[in-house]
């Protein structure tokens, strides 16, 4: 059966210490508990969490939402966004069943990237690799005013902004992620995959959609 892979790419650099990182952890828990009461998501959605600071770590390999266990996540160090994109692409390549002419593969993955600052590594190579991958909807979230929205815009046209990096905003973001995954899994459940942000539920007021 086809799976709907969902990748969360989370900035855990030093600037996320305190309220932001705690809010992210609560947000992912909220995301999971919501999806666990949604029959479409329970059937098809698989979640992976990749964190990046100085290092990039896949803290949750692609796992069905029913059994995901979230390890403790701590914030420290820099923001290796380029390496994160590289790792995401390589990991997805390994984890996703691409299908053949005689077998249907998985659905294209959804990617939700959240960062609060400027990358501290070079992003070009990772960005290049990422651009060559096959993705479903990719959303980049600039948490607070420190993130480089122009750079995020090069990753995806779907950039959303949280004005502040507080617990309410971060919670609202993950609620929106959960309704987006729900909506996507409902659609793939019926054979169609959304490919633009317009096909997802509108974000709540805490989140503004960046328009160019």
């Amino acid at each position: 059966m086809r799976r709907l892979p969902v990748y969360l790419l989370i900035d855990v650099s030093g600037s996320m210490t305190g309220e932001p990182i705690e809010s992210v952890k609560n947000g992912i828990q909220l995301l999971l508990s919501t999806l666990r009461k949604d029959p479409q998501a329970l059937e098809s959605a698989f979640l992976s969490v990749i964190t990046f600071s100085d290092r990039v770590t896949q803290v949750v390999p692609l796992t069905e939402v029913a059994t995901v266990q979230l390890p403790n996540i701590t914030a420290s160090g820099g923001t290796s966004l380029g390496q994160a994109l590289q790792t995401l692409t390589e990991t997805a390549n390994k984890e996703i069943n691409k299908g053949t002419s005689s077998e249907k593969g998985d659905w294209k993955p959804l990617v939700f990237l959240m960062t609060d600052g400027q990358p501290t590594d070079s992003v070009e190579r990772g960005l290049q690799a990422f651009k060559e991958g096959k993705w479903g909807i990719v959303v980049a979230c600039a948490a607070g005013s420190g993130a480089d929205t122009n750079l995020l815009r090069r990753i995806t046209e779907n950039v959303v902004v949280l004005d502040t990096c507080d617990s309410n905003s971060i919670k609202a973001f993950f609620m929106w992620v959960s309704s987006s995954v729900s909506a996507s899994s409902k659609r793939v459940d019926s054979g169609a995959q959304p490919d633009t942000l317009n096909e997802l539920p509108p974000p709540p007021e805490e989140i503004s959609l960046l328009k160019f």
Binding site: M1, P39, L42, E43, S101, S190
Partner: protein, 491 residues
């Protein structure tokens, strides 16, 4: 909390608590203080046509269904909008709340979630996430399907089409066999109000999928109507009975998911169990263990539902798949499902997941779900009826006998049917069965003129008749009364 009291268009007083609305696709839903109804407001302003449609649904169509015979019965099968309200420039409808058994109970892992169809149509959800006590059994799924067929039959009889039947719009309770159609405000009145939506993709008819890219004014474009409801109903029934989709097989048409979708549900739609074209059989993949055994069509083919449903599935997914006029009507499904419910026998394995199975017409019945063989004596009643009181012909209706099985009036008379029109007085059993001293007996409770034709002996009320192979019983001497022929399978 802020209580709002408004006057509905019909003059009735309507109250709701204006706090934390539940947000649906297009409506915000508020509860009444006593939680007996909800007030659902459309977020967007309705156009003239939509308002007109609501007026009709709440007016004529509701009155037509709920003021006639069986009104109480239909209240359980439909959450029908009862009133229209206007508040702060928004249009809303007043709808009764769902019965409590359509929510998973508090002491389960899914506490509070609605029992929408997808919990039960998906093999993985059914296997792993539906709490044990909520899974129901084969008989309760047959009841769900009977209820849905009946509800659709009633809509069609009223000249309506649902237009978006799907597991989202049907709440079901496999514990009791109850089913209820919700979100009725989008109903289509053919030739009067066009549909708002084309349907939900798993359930859209092939002709709708094939023509959906045509210009809306193109006369070849197909819209939801009674025949597309018939397709959706057949899909729902198949999914509830088998926990798999009848058209989602392994055939690959394109690596583009959108093209694949539009071909496999549209122009190229092909039954996964087509008897001669096997190209869309589902090939089990290595990550499919959560979906077994239900997706294994070799192990649990559609034929296990017995002769009546086998024929209807073939009519729906082979003959009628691309020929809408050939599809079975809701009536056909209701009749076939009711007869199938008489064909089930209990599985001897008390841990069997389905508890019942349809008799396979063999002398060595085996439960297809758990492989348990039947052991013992199995009486089978074949029903015969007559149009002239002399010559009796087979009704193609068979009743399996098991401990605590009952005989009802609709078995006794060929003109009685178990549906909404049947008064309560006719719903009581007229005889029952028991395995007593190593022999099956039928105990007559209320039949006035039951006769053992083989031994030419009346069986008065309160007495029993042993069931032997070849025994013929006349159930009633009255007009429309049936004769049964008893066979005894010994395994």
């Amino acid at each position: 909390m802020s209580l709002v009291t408004i006057q509905a268009k019909d003059g009735a007083s309507v109250e709701f608590i204006k706090k934390d609305p539940k947000q649906g696709g297009v409506k915000d839903v508020y509860f009444s203080p006593d939680r007996s109804y909800v007030v659902a407001f459309y977020r967007k302003e309705l156009d003239f046509g939509s308002k007109e449609r609501l007026e009709r649904l709440v007016g004529n169509y509701r009155v037509g269904i709920f003021s006639k015979q069986g009104a109480e019965y239909w209240k359980n099968l439909f959450r029908w909008p009862e009133r229209i309200v206007e508040y702060e420039k928004k249009t809303g409808i007043v709808v009764p709340v769902y019965q409590p058994n359509f929510f998973f109970p508090e002491n389960t892992t899914l506490a509070g979630a609605e029992k929408e169809g997808k919990w039960f149509t998906s093999a993985k959800n059914f296997n792993r996430f539906v709490p044990e006590g909520e899974k129901g059994n084969l008989l309760s799924y047959l009841r769900i399907c009977i209820n849905l067929s009946r509800a659709v039959r009633r809509l069609h009889a009223a000249g309506l089409a649902h237009s978006d039947l799907s597991y989202k719009n049907c709440l079901v309770d496999p514990k009791t066999g109850d089913a209820c159609i919700i979100d009725i405000d989008g109903l289509v009145v053919p030739n009067l109000f066009a549909p708002d939506v084309l349907g939900t993709p798993d359930f859209m008819a092939p002709e709708v999928v094939t023509t959906m890219k045509l210009d809306p004014k193109d006369p070849n474009r197909k819209y939801p109507c009674r025949e597309t409801d018939q397709h959706a109903l057949a899909i729902l029934i198949y999914q509830y009975l088998f926990h798999r989709h009848p058209l989602r097989g392994s055939k690959v048409y394109s690596d583009d998911t959108e093209i694949q979708e539009s071909l496999e549900m549209g122009e190229k739609a092909l039954f996964i169990e087509h008897p001669t074209d096997t190209s869309n059989r589902y090939k089990i993949q290595k990550n499919d263990k959560d979906f077994l055994p239900w997706i294994d069509t070799g192990k649990l083919p559609y034929k296990i539902m017995g002769p009546y449903l086998k024929e209807l599935f073939e009519q729906a997914f082979i003959k009628g798949l691309h020929t809408p006029s050939e599809r079975p009507s809701a009536d056909d499904w209701e009749a076939g499902l009711i007869k199938t419910a008489d064909l089930v026998q209990p599985c001897l394995n008390k841990d069997c997941v389905k508890k019942w199975y349809v008799f396979d017409n063999s002398t060595k019945p085996v439960c297809p779900y758990c492989g348990t063989k039947f052991k013992g004596q199995l009486p089978v009643f074949d029903l015969y009826s007559s149009h002239d009181g002399k010559n009796f012909r087979a009704d193609n209706h068979r009743l399996m006998i098991y401990n605590n099985q009952y005989l009802y009036l609709w078995h006794v008379f060929r003109n009685v049917f178990p549906n909404e029109k049947l008064p309560d007085s006719q719903k009581k059993p007229v005889a029952y069965f028991s395995f007593h001293k190593n022999q099956w007996i039928m105990i007559n409770q209320t039949l006035d003129s039951l006769v053992d034709l083989t031994n030419n002996k009346p069986i008065p009320k309160g007495s029993a008749v042993p069931l032997t192979n070849g025994l013929k019983l006349q159930l009633s001497q009255e007009q429309f009364g049936r004769v049964v022929n008893v066979s005894l399978v010994k395994a």
